[in-house]
Symmetry: C2
């Protein structure tokens, strides 16, 4: 083992050497030569039997999905995708990593969270942090000025120059449709506008250079108290207590369209061009939301700021509501499950001529929603089927493997979802047990006699009742018995 440890150390050092050469952009020959040495060392090392050596786990912040969890995930995705399609969205996809430059300078303080890849001898790459920046890169790269798309079942965006607030209203409608159909409880969508925030910061006396960083302080108000946020503004970000308090008076307000009206009367705020634009757009937005029948789900909330730098207009965030413990209490938000907003400047950051493409979009917090649905189903102790197998091909006697293989193959070729146990001579009991566990509704049983008579014994696992079916009718009979009662197309 000591010898192995030494060898491992050699491999490590040689690996460093190769990486070093790559960083120094050494000649291809030189790198190849060192890589060859590395491989030779690794070959000596042989397959890594280092068992106890490391804990079996997935990387921090990631998880596996078991078949049960995937079944739930697919149900959730079905709801989301069918909503996106109902609103006429196309679908695109982009790689899981991007050139580092593509992602830098787009997120602000959140960019701490970006995973960089090691230099692969050439490009600097990072894992995508959201789907919005890759989408903007895609639009600029393909010179697209107009598209409505969704992206791996969680992001929906509308790009293009349109009349104000119509696409924005549709995004909010989509969020409400999805959260309602998921039946994960009552929810509320907080709405605000970056222009209102910036106007407010201006009239409160925040220097322009600090707008974004103060924005991310305000954004913390859903997690921490105003006191703590104020301390951050004054202590870390250098605002005077007066300025902070002035901000506090505003950001602690929330309400409906009436609050919009009220702020339109605010002598200071209404004098600020940006704030005024934002407020007038919000007023229009509320009109459309009323026509869409979702105004009651929307709350204009001046404390909503959203962390990311790229938003330029309306922003929104949906939170699930916990029914209050005592009557009369305000329902409590239990974290964001969907969010989005307008980002009119992002595509221009990629366009050589800075040509702008206005965009508005939303993102569904699928991970969070999965675990909520999962918990609910666990609480209900609901059994989730993880396969769709219609029939198990079984045999009562021994020496019938070949017949089972022939029959199951016939069924597959006819489009029937069928399985068999991978044993030469399985016991009938074990085959029936397998059906019970996997929730397979039918068993097609072959026996010497059935073969002679040209029939198959078809057994219903639930009722245990058995009938002989002529082999040529088997496929139709299985389809008849397992097709959904009502066909929804």
């Amino acid at each position: 083992m000591a010898e192995r440890a030494a060898l491992e150390e050699l491999v490590r050092l040689q690996g460093e050497r190769v990486r070093g050469l790559k960083q120094q952009k050494a000649s291809a020959e030189q790198i190849e030569e060192e890589v060859a040495k590395l491989l030779k060392l690794k070959a000596q090392l042989g397959p890594d039997e280092g068992k106890q050596k490391f804990v079996l786990k997935t990387p921090k912040g990631t998880r596996d999905y078991s078949p049960r969890q995937m079944a739930i995930r697919e149900k959730v995705f079905d709801v989301i995708i069918s909503c996106f399609k109902r609103h006429g969205a196309e679908v695109i996809d982009t790689p899981v990593f991007e050139l580092k430059e593509t992602l830098t300078g787009k997120y602000g303080e959140d960019s701490k969270l970006i995973y960089d890849l090691k230099d692969q001898g050439g490009e600097l790459l990072s894992l995508r942090y959201d789907l919005t920046v890759p989408f903007a890169r895609y639009l600029a790269m393909n010179k697209l000025t107009n598209i409505k798309r969704y992206h791996i079942a969680k992001d929906f965006d509308i790009a293009g120059q349109f009349d104000p607030m119509i696409p924005d209203a549709e995004c909010l409608k989509i969020m409400c449709e999805i959260l309602s159909s998921l039946q994960i409880g009552d929810f509320l969508v907080k709405v605000n506008d970056r222009r209102i925030l910036d106007g407010m910061f201006a009239i409160c006396g925040v220097p322009d250079s600090k707008f974004r960083t103060i924005c991310s302080s305000v954004d913390k108000l859903d997690k921490v108290s105003w006191e703590e946020v104020k301390n951050e503004m004054v202590g870390e970000k250098g605002l005077t207590p007066e300025v902070a308090d002035h901000i506090g008076d505003y950001v602690q307000q929330h309400g409906g369209v009436s609050l919009v009206e009220q702020l339109l009367q605010d002598p200071k705020l209404s004098q600020n061009k940006q704030a005024l634009e934002g407020l007038e757009d919000l007023k229009l937005l509320f009109e459309y939301l009323t026509l869409f029948g979702i105004a009651d789900k929307i709350s204009f909330d001046l404390s909503l700021a959203r962390g990311l730098d790229y938003y330029t207009g309306v922003i929104y965030e949906a939170v699930l509501l916990q029914t209050p413990v005592r009557p009369g209490e305000e329902p409590l938000g239990v974290g964001s499950v969907a969010a989005g907003g307008r980002y009119d400047g992002l595509v221009g950051m990629f366009d050589p001529k800075g040509r702008k493409v206005p965009c508005v979009g939303l993102s569904i917090g699928v991970e969070r929603i999965f675990s909520i649905v999962e918990q609910r189903l666990e609480a209900l102790e609901e059994k989730v089927r993880t396969t769709e197998t219609q029939v198990l091909v079984a045999s009562a006697q021994k020496r019938l493997l070949e017949e089972r293989l022939k029959l199951v193959s016939e069924l597959w070729d006819a489009g029937i979802k069928a399985e068999l146990l991978y044993k030469k001579n399985p016991k009938l009991l074990n085959q029936l047990q397998y059906c019970e566990e996997a929730g397979i509704p039918l068993v097609a049983i072959i026996g010497e006699q059935e073969l002679k008579d040209g029939v198959i014994k078809l057994r219903s696992v639930a009722s245990r009742e058995e009938v002989d079916v002529r082999r040529e009718d088997l496929v139709e009979e299985i389809k008849r018995r397992t097709s959904p009662a009502l066909c929804i197309c």
Copy 2:
């Protein structure tokens, strides 16, 4: 700009400093302090307007998918997934990156191709290179000894201790079913066994330590000539020409079950325990493949080696066949579109006690298949619809935006796939044009008169014929007109 450049340089250096500290495992406070400085610098730098500075592109070896390409991709995925489900597979998913240790020492010479992530202050991570190693890690982590699963619509595996060659045969059946249903032309599945290769290497006089590396030389035979492979074996990998030639005599043979029989008579090879096991299993495999009706698609090919280290038994690779230019010529392989094999040791490499879980699986070359299908459709100049929108809500006169919003919302709530143009007063012609381009079959036209009469004018885009439909009947009428002729459940 010079000032900006300087600032950028400062940011870069500070970034390096932070990374350095992380690598040196400096104290959290110290790192935080430097990160704070970094962020301050970045804040001064402001959003990155560096336009011309870099080429807009995706990372090497990656691509975007346009709506048209996604529509094709989804058709391909549908074929693959429905086949996996037909064979009773559950579905799992694992993260896109793994602990570096999870991936190292599993692939052999291919491991050059693994992307490492930069140290995020703690874990060493790498992007997954295939789905097989993450699957084995998943089995060991969850102590699973028995599962049949698929993984993001391309990998299918059967794990468990079963009677020989039954799951292996099903994997080959699945490959053939998928390639047939995709209708991408004639194909052939090459089959071999690692035990036959190793036995062959042994009797040819290859030292054990060189089995794997000679294996990857042999694996190149589908791309380069035997001469080149021989040169590599002798020149780079230090075999004697005699040994190489001896290997050459074997690896240039291919055929059906008859070749298996013939090699079972081979005095030297049949004396090698490993080779004998492999040959006897292949004989059994061919029996099962005959029962599955696919034996004619299978070719026992001694030159098939597969690059990856983890295979331990049967290996296979499907190639598309180019119809020969001249009659009598052998059809030419145009690259692998699916492959797989048996890997009985991999799970044990993760299990603390080395407990083994035999596995056999296959992987579909989806990227390659997409581009083949894409090319075919382009050749046919086939139009691919990228949305499913059933109806566009339009208006003939001005000042009807509110009415359009109300109607489209009604339709969405009733589950109809509907769109409207995001303009206050769009021209009817533009609205009809939009339908033509997007392939939307119906237009629901609102007009002053229709509103008075409580009807909607429903227009068929194809026939241009229009009828008034009572508003309360609109949903049913749209469903009736747009539901697929025949319902396949």
